[in-house]
């Protein structure tokens, strides 16, 4: 597990890119950060290694299932109605198939972004962990520093630190951590997690991983939006979006002379956003 030995520097001004969260009261922010940290820990537990008995028992508790259902997760009987021992075995096998065996899809940033283990992202995140006073220790199995579960765990730790800082009235420290989290999302998680979650949603044979992948994707999208970040998803598995659903700032089929807009419109009007956009374009055209 990540072992923290973080000390915080003093005195840094609020800068550009910081979220509105700091504008809420410190107490509210601390509560929110702890809640976010819990979700990160949960997702980290799903992906860092095969789930343990306590982890699954807690997840299958009625209250937890209800909350997960409220977020839109729909587990099948293979998760809900299978005896615990059998379920743990099934999940261990499914984990191996999906994440830890030839032919699977390692939840590792280097693999997703470069096609190979232990490439630059691995060393970059390791450097970040070290810079912030963390050391990576093996759990049941040795994992890479840029493994999904570890990256999520790292953000959870930063959130907890931030909440603790707020408890002590150290807003500056919390702001610095907010920056670190955003930087980490921009440089790492945000570049691969959304596409990867879609891949696992497609390939998972067990509803637990299918739904947790959906949860991961939704949560990642929400976090990115809430933090006000714009990050391109560079994961190899990002879905190819049909052209008709692409939200564009311009009409990609439009000739440069802008003289044949009518024909080109028919191919891009299916999505409501596009429709709105082209209505705006028409209005602008009318002004000329």
């Amino acid at each position: 597990m990540l072992k923290t030995e973080l000390t915080l520097d003093e005195g840094e001004e609020v800068g550009a890119g910081e979220t509105a969260a700091v504008l809420a009261s410190p107490g509210e922010t601390a509560t929110e950060w702890r809640a976010r940290a819990e979700v990160y820990h949960l997702l980290s537990g799903v992906f860092v290694e095969e789930p343990g008995r306590e982890f699954i028992e807690a997840l299958r508790a009625p209250a937890a299932l209800a909350d997960l259902a409220a977020t839109g997760l729909r587990f099948d009987e293979d998760f809900l109605a299978t005896p615990l021992d059998v379920l743990l075995e099934n999940l261990a096998i499914e984990y191996t198939t999906q994440f830890a065996c030839t032919g699977g899809f390692p939840p590792v940033e280097s693999v997703r972004l470069t096609g190979r283990y232990k490439q630059q992202p691995n060393f970059d995140v390791m450097q970040t962990y070290q810079r912030l006073g963390f050391a990576l220790h093996p759990g049941r199995f040795e994992v890479f520093a840029d493994q999904l579960g570890v990256e999520l765990m790292f953000v959870a730790k930063l959130l907890e630190r931030g909440a603790a800082a707020l408890d002590q009235g150290d807003v500056a420290a919390q702001r610095r951590l907010d920056k670190e989290i955003k930087r980490f999302w921009s440089q790492h998680l945000g570049r691969w997690v959304r596409g990867y979650s879609q891949l696992i949603e497609r390939t998972a044979q067990h509803s637990f991983y299918r739904e947790m992948a959906r949860f991961l994707g939704g949560f990642a999208g929400e976090e990115i939006e809430a933090m006000g970040l714009r990050i391109e998803d560079a994961d190899q598995a990002r879905l190819e979006v049909p052209k008709t659903e692409v939200r564009v700032e311009f009409n990609p089929n439009e000739p440069v002379c802008n003289g044949c807009m009518t024909d080109a419109l028919s191919t891009t009007l299916a999505a409501p956003d596009n429709l709105r956009r082209f209505e705006e374009l028409r209005d602008l055209g009318g002004l000329r």
Binding site: E50, G103, V111, Y117, Q119, N122, F123, T203
Partner: protein, 879 residues
């Protein structure tokens, strides 16, 4: 003063006309990354990268290499300029070696099978769970009979660890892969002059005969030898003649390519010997002094091998045989090289022997530019060592093949199926016979799936090869860049010692082989009471290496293992000259090799306490150490009698011809007009089974059409790209044709190393075949970047077993096939063999063993042999 007006247009114009001057202008500042090897710099940071010398192990040439490391990650591999054999050059395979470490399909954890064998369902388990389970299986097997534990290895360079492990367990069932490699070459040579291979001094030769070796691409030692043969060709103006069924790149590089009928090289070599002896072109002094036959005996024996006889068999014209024989015998120095071409046949040992007789009878042995003994160095093993098992293993030393000192591993499945030896635990290391052996999936796949014949199957492997995919337990081994291993390979005329050392931390939970085996033993004997642990008392791989290297005279003074860690190789003979590419001494001259090793005289100290017999053999403490010739005491050759045995008496004991001879493949003699012989070959960027998942290499070569001669193709109406059906006695395949004049009309050829059905997403390209299946990474969109969709077709399913009754080699190039246009039901990539048909082939080939009913028929000249019952029990030669 008016300044010149320089616009973008004017300076572009100026640059176009002044380029030559600019090129000649002094350049004092050079990017350090362009310097001659040994150092490397990050192109962005300019910082010097950490350089760790190793010996490459993508294939088995053992090139000296340097791994450049940034952040515990290999960013580049290149040749080690201090390595005397490979002199700073590394081939494409070596340059790509880091792909093994970082392959996304690499196995990083112990895996336990949870579905049916081969179903692909695994569960990750801890090392402790894995070792506990395996130890229990081994323990039970040891109690029943240690020999029921079998270990079969492929490309292993552990330097003695495998034997130590198996001997610790008490098992003699250790099986290598050499019979599908070059064992009949070895057995053709070893009883004759001692070592199992030659070192041709190409760089200094004036004439080279090359029988069936693709030196520039694939032969043993292709990197160092291709350097030397190019030097000989360019600097020394040597002539090279290549006998090959196919216009390989080496044949194309040669002065003459002579397309010989498959399996008849031996006849051509014998006929050339006939011409040399008939025309008195032999080196009589060498023959009479250094061999166990006289010139007269040899002349008499070779009378039967006329050029007319060989021409009829081989298709090589009489005039060509005579001309080349004369050229070879009268051009000094001359050398000869063979690899699989002559040796991979039913009687491959005879063929090899026939070839090596040419440099012997012309006295080109151990001369500058000649046919030299291999140079190697050894290392001591850590003490104490376990004793050898008391009970012999049938599979390790099959009694029907007593001369096959390198075993007959490709017949093992049939012997297990026949109940010749029971196996409880089968361990495999760096092997993949399900892909690489004759019969492939049809034979080994069937064996491995049979849980009655092989109740427990353990694979030590970093990759999910065709064999590992059928295992019950997978222990994640390390690829070569993460291992400690001792090395020495006779790949030039200068002996050397070297190491592989981990260049970065092993990934995941993979463990190198010697650590894995130590941990198994420790689990079996935790407190040492069983007497096993004492043989495995080392902390790590480096500590083990210190046992090997810290006390070798010379190296010890240089620093032992620490010297090797720094340089990768010892000794350092000189400095690599970047202009000539040669290793030079302090005066700038190329270092010279030592020749005439067998003519080294024994010292007075050596001679103390010796006895010399009537044949001149000098013995000490019961072991022959030299030979007396012309009044001098020489070290001689490393044979039992210290001279070259042209006549191998041991062969005669088993009813084989002890003198150089040739046996035609019986089923080749009865081939019908529409039948062809199927051969296989390797490309320069692939090895047998372990490179198809290396992206850089797969991009260069990923498919393997069938080479077929234009005239042959015309007969069946096939052109390049057409689908063809290739049928042997054991199965059929469907592939594409490549029509060319560059192959013998009676031969077709398929490159090996393609058509994988396991080995990861890149090797299998299953994404392209079957979308929607989550296995093999099919859904991985990175594969969309793979622009090719042809992974090739694997030929081994249809190649039946053939075993040389002497050397034990597989007759890879003996398969008779019919080739036709593909039919409506044929699909590209079909490759099917049939167990029963392969089994029939096994029964057939056993008939040629010395115990078989065809042995006598094939050897009418040995009519006086008293039969199998007359043979005393002998241990096979070799190792």
């Amino acid at each position: 003063m008016e300044m010149p007006k320089v616009t973008r247009r004017t300076f572009l114009k100026v640059s176009a006309t002044t380029g030559a001057a600019a090129a000649a202008a002094p350049r004092l500042l050079n990017a350090m990354e362009t310097q001659l090897g040994g150092k490397d710099f990050g192109p962005v940071t300019g910082a010097e990268r950490k350089a760790i010398p190793i010996n490459c192990h993508v294939c088995n040439i053992q090139d000296g290499a340097i791994a450049y490391v940034e952040n515990d990650r290999v960013v580049k591999l290149e040749g080690n300029p201090e390595h005397v054999s490979t002199r700073g050059r590394l081939c494409a395979k070596g340059n790509s070696g880091m792909w093994y470490s970082y392959d996304p399909d690499r196995i990083l954890y112990p895996l336990k099978r949870v579905g049916a064998r081969g179903e692909g369902k695994w569960k990750r388990i801890s090392w402790d769970e894995a070792l506990t389970e395996l130890a229990a299986k081994l323990d039970a097997a040891i109690k029943e009979d240690p020999n029921t534990i079998m270990l079969k290895f492929g490309r292993q360079r552990t330097g003695g660890v495998i034997d130590r492990f198996m001997h610790t367990l008490g098992s003699a069932t250790i099986v290598n892969h050499t019979s599908v490699c070059e064992s009949s070459k070895k057995i053709g040579m070893e009883p004759t002059w001692g070592p199992d291979i030659e070192t041709p001094d190409f760089a200094n030769a004036k004439y080279v005969l090359n029988f069936g070796s693709n030196i520039l691409e694939a032969a043993y030692f292709h990197n160092p030898l291709s350097q030397r043969i190019t030097e000989g060709r360019v600097d020394n103006h040597m002539k090279i003649v290549t006998f090959d069924v196919r216009l390989s790149n080496t044949a194309g590089f040669s002065d003459e390519w002579i397309p010989v009928h498959p399996a008849t090289d031996g006849a051509v070599a014998l006929a050339m010997g006939h011409v040399i002896l008939r025309e008195n072109l032999q080196d009589s002094d060498f023959i009479n002094t250094w061999t166990n036959v006289s010139v007269d005996e040899l002349k008499k024996h070779y009378q039967q091998y006329t050029p007319e006889w060989a021409a009829k068999i081989s298709g090589v014209p009489v005039e060509t045989i005579e001309r080349i024989a004369r050229e070879f015998a009268t051009t000094k120095p001359a050398t000869l090289f063979t690899y699989r071409g002559p040796a991979k046949h039913l009687y491959g040992s005879y063929n090899e022997k026939a070839c090596m007789m040419l440099p012997i009878m012309t006295g080109n042995i151990e001369t500058q530019g000649g046919y030299c003994l291999p140079r190697g160095m050894g290392w001591p093993q850590p003490s104490p060592q376990p004793g050898k098992p008391k009970k012999a293993s049938y599979l390790s030393h099959p009694p029907d093949y007593p001369l096959a000192g390198h075993k007959v591993s490709h017949l093992v499945p049939f012997w297990i199926a026949d109940g010749k030896q029971k196996i409880n635990v089968y361990i495999t290391y760096q092997d993949n016979p399900v892909y690489t052996n004759p019969g492939a999936m049809a034979v080994w796949g069937k064996l491995f799936k049979d849980e009655k014949l092989l109740p427990y199957l353990v694979s030590m492997s970093p990759f999910m090869g065709e064999e590992t995919a059928l295992a019950d337990l997978i222990l994640p081994d390390c690829p070569y860049l993460e291992r400690w291993e001792p090395e020495s390979m006779p790949n030039s005329l200068w002996p050397w010692l070297g190491i592989r050392q981990p260049v970065h931390k092993s990934l995941g939970e993979s463990r190198e082989n010697r650590i894995m085996m130590r941990d198994i033993i420790w689990k079996l004997d935790p407190d040492g009471k069983r007497g096993m642990k004492q043989f495995w008392d080392f902390k790590d791989g480096e500590a083990y290496m210190r046992h090997h290297f810290d006390n070798i005279p010379g190296l010890k003074e240089a620093g032992g293992l620490d010297f090797l860690k720094k340089h990768g190789v010892w000794p350092i003979y000189g400095k690599l000259d970047p202009k000539s590419g040669k290793v030079t001494d302090k005066t700038g001259r190329e270092i010279k090799a030592e020749y005439g090793l067998f003519k080294k005289e024994l010292s007075a100290a050596d001679m103390a306490g010796t006895a010399t017999d009537k044949n001149g053999v000098i013995s000490k403490n019961g072991k022959a150490i030299g030979v007396k010739r012309n009044g001098k005491n020489y070290v001689g050759f490393p044979t039992g009698n210290r001279i070259i045995n042209v006549r191998v008496d041991q062969w005669a004991e088993y009813g084989f011809n002890p003198m150089p001879t040739f046996k035609r493949i019986p089923w080749h003699e009865t081939m019908k007009e529409d039948e062809l012989i199927l051969t296989t070959f390797k490309l320069n960027v692939h090895k047998q089974s372990r490179t198809a998942a290396v992206k850089w290499l797969a991009e260069i070569a990923h498919s393997n059409p069938l080479w077929i001669n234009q005239a042959t193709a015309n007969k069946i109406g096939v052109k390049t790209g057409d689908l063809v059906r290739v049928e042997s006695r054991a199965g059929h395949l469907v592939t594409k044709a490549y029509v060319t004049e560059g192959i013998h009309p009676k031969t077709v050829a398929i490159p090996t190393g393609f058509g994988h059905w396991e080995y990861g997403r890149l090797a299998t390209l299953k994404l392209k075949e079957k979308k929607g299946d989550a296995s093999h990474g099919q859904e991985d969109p990175d594969l969309n970047n793979v622009w090719w969709d042809d992974k090739g077709v694997h030929p081994n399913n249809i190649i039946p077993v053939v075993a040389d009754p002497i050397g034990g080699s597989q007759g890879w190039y003996d398969t008779v096939v019919k080739v036709s246009k593909a039919g409506p039901n044929d699909k590209y990539g079909d490759s099917q063999g049939d167990w029963q048909k392969h089994y029939d082939a096994y029964k057939e080939t056993m008939r040629y063993a010395y115990t078989g009913d065809l042995h006598r028929k094939m050897h009418p000249e040995m009519a006086s042999w008293a039969g199998p019952a007359s043979v005393k029990a002998h241990e096979g030669g070799g190792h």
